[in-house]
Each structure stands twice: as C-alpha cells, then as structure tokens.
C-alpha cells in the first residue's frame, strides 16, 4: 500500500514530499513508529500529523493513496 507524504516548516528541510510504500501499516500510530525510524530527526522533536487534510487527534485508520502531512509546531502570527 502506498501513501503520499508531505511536510512543512523545519521538517520540510529533511523530509521531501514523496510517495512511500507502507505495506503492513494500517493506522497513524503505526505510521508514527515507521516515520520516526525512517526519519530519526523527527523522533527528537514535536510534530503533528494530518490525514487527508484533517489534523490527527487520535489513532486513525490509513488507506492506500491517503495523504499524510508531517508538521512541526505552528508558528504563525
């Protein structure tokens, strides 16, 4: 199963937008473990995920072709 990953802010400097194969991963909790292993920088920082343009507040199912955004703490204003 493949999904699209996009990233923002500081995280966009080391995780480029890309399509990744996450066969065997079915929810956002599992995806976080995968991401922190693949991109060790984010395990050192606070980040949030969005799934298909919705902020993830709790563990959520992922389907093929979903769009996952990886976001550092917000700093607007």
């Amino acid at each position: 199963m493949e999904i699209d990953i996009i990233s923002f802010g500081k995280i966009s400097e080391f995780i480029k937008n890309q399509r990744v194969d996450i066969t065997g991963i079915s929810d956002t909790d599992a995806l976080k473990i995968y991401l922190e292993k693949t991109f060790p920088e984010i395990s050192q920082m606070k980040y949030k995920l969005a799934l298909n343009e919705n902020l993830i507040q709790q563990n959520t199912q992922i389907s093929g072709n979903d769009l996952v955004a990886i976001m550092p703490p917000f700093s607007g204003g």
């Binding site: 923002f8 802010g9 343009e53 919705n54 902020l55 917000f74 700093s75 607007g76 204003g77």
Partner: protein
C-alpha cells in the same frame, strides 16, 4: 452561527497600513458598532549571535488553516456579541518592520471586541498550521517558535 462562508485570510507579502486604514473606514456605515479592537503582528529585527532578522517567510497548510480559522470564527461569534470580525495573515516574505497579522473585532460595547480579539490571536497562533522562517541578513535562517 453555522454555514458562514469560508473566508481566505491569506495575503501575499506584508499587510499594508493603508489597507488597515481603509478597513477601519469601511465600518463607518455600521453605526451599531461602539468599539473596535485591533491586533497587529509586526516582524521584529531580532538579533541572534550578532546577526539580524531581515524578514520572515511564512508558509501554511492552507486547506487546514482556513477550515480551522472558520471554526474559530464560528466559536468566537457564538461566544461574543460581535458585529464584525476580520482576520488577515501574510504568506511569503514579510520584511522586518512590516505587518504580517491583522485581527479586527467590532462590537456595540468595548469588552466583547477587546476580549474576542485577544482570544483570536491566541487561538490563531496555537491552532493554525502556519510556519515562519526567520531569514537573517546573511541569508541563513532559523525557524520561528511561538511562545
């Protein structure tokens, strides 16, 4: 207070003080208003190790930011008796000394406008996916962090 149309809060580059003046002038026909409260964010020329910030470059996950701002707007209108609420935030480069955020609340009496304006600024900074990249005069950068 549902089904308000989703407004675009984003403008490219700085927010012009003349635009703010015009925005204020437009409220002269709204004669039920007695108090306006405005907050503006301005880019500081902060120093770090002898280098100075020359600009902040703002980016956003716009789809989420606009939807979230719309929700905040509805909650604020439910909580306070406001006549008007306008929010504008910059994207792209804003130089030191320029304005990057403009929040404008109006109500019949002063207290709701003042309280709503302060609350919107707090929520906007905490809840909208917007990021500021502080660009130094030597073209290095650091990522802005909100407190």
């Amino acid at each position: 207070m549902s089904q308000r149309k989703i407004k675009n809060i984003f403008v490219t580059g700085k927010i012009d003080p003349a635009f703010i003046g015009d925005s204020i002038a437009k409220h002269s026909s709204k004669t039920a208003i007695g108090g306006h409260s405005i907050f503006m964010g301005q880019v500081r020329r902060d120093e770090l190790d002898g280098k100075f910030v020359s600009a902040i470059e703002f980016t956003s996950y716009e789809a989420i930011a606009l939807e979230k701002m719309n929700l905040i707007r509805e909650e604020i209108f439910d909580k306070y008796p406001l006549n008007c609420l306008h929010v504008h935030h910059s994207l792209g480069l804003v130089n030191a000394g320029e304005i990057c955020l403009f929040v404008f609340c109006s109500s019949a009496h002063r207290k709701p406008a003042i309280d709503a304006c302060a609350e919107i600024v707090e929520r906007l900074k905490a809840e909208l996916p917007i990021w500021g990249k502080e660009i130094f005069e030597d073209h290095t950068h650091q990522w802005k962090e909100n407190n």
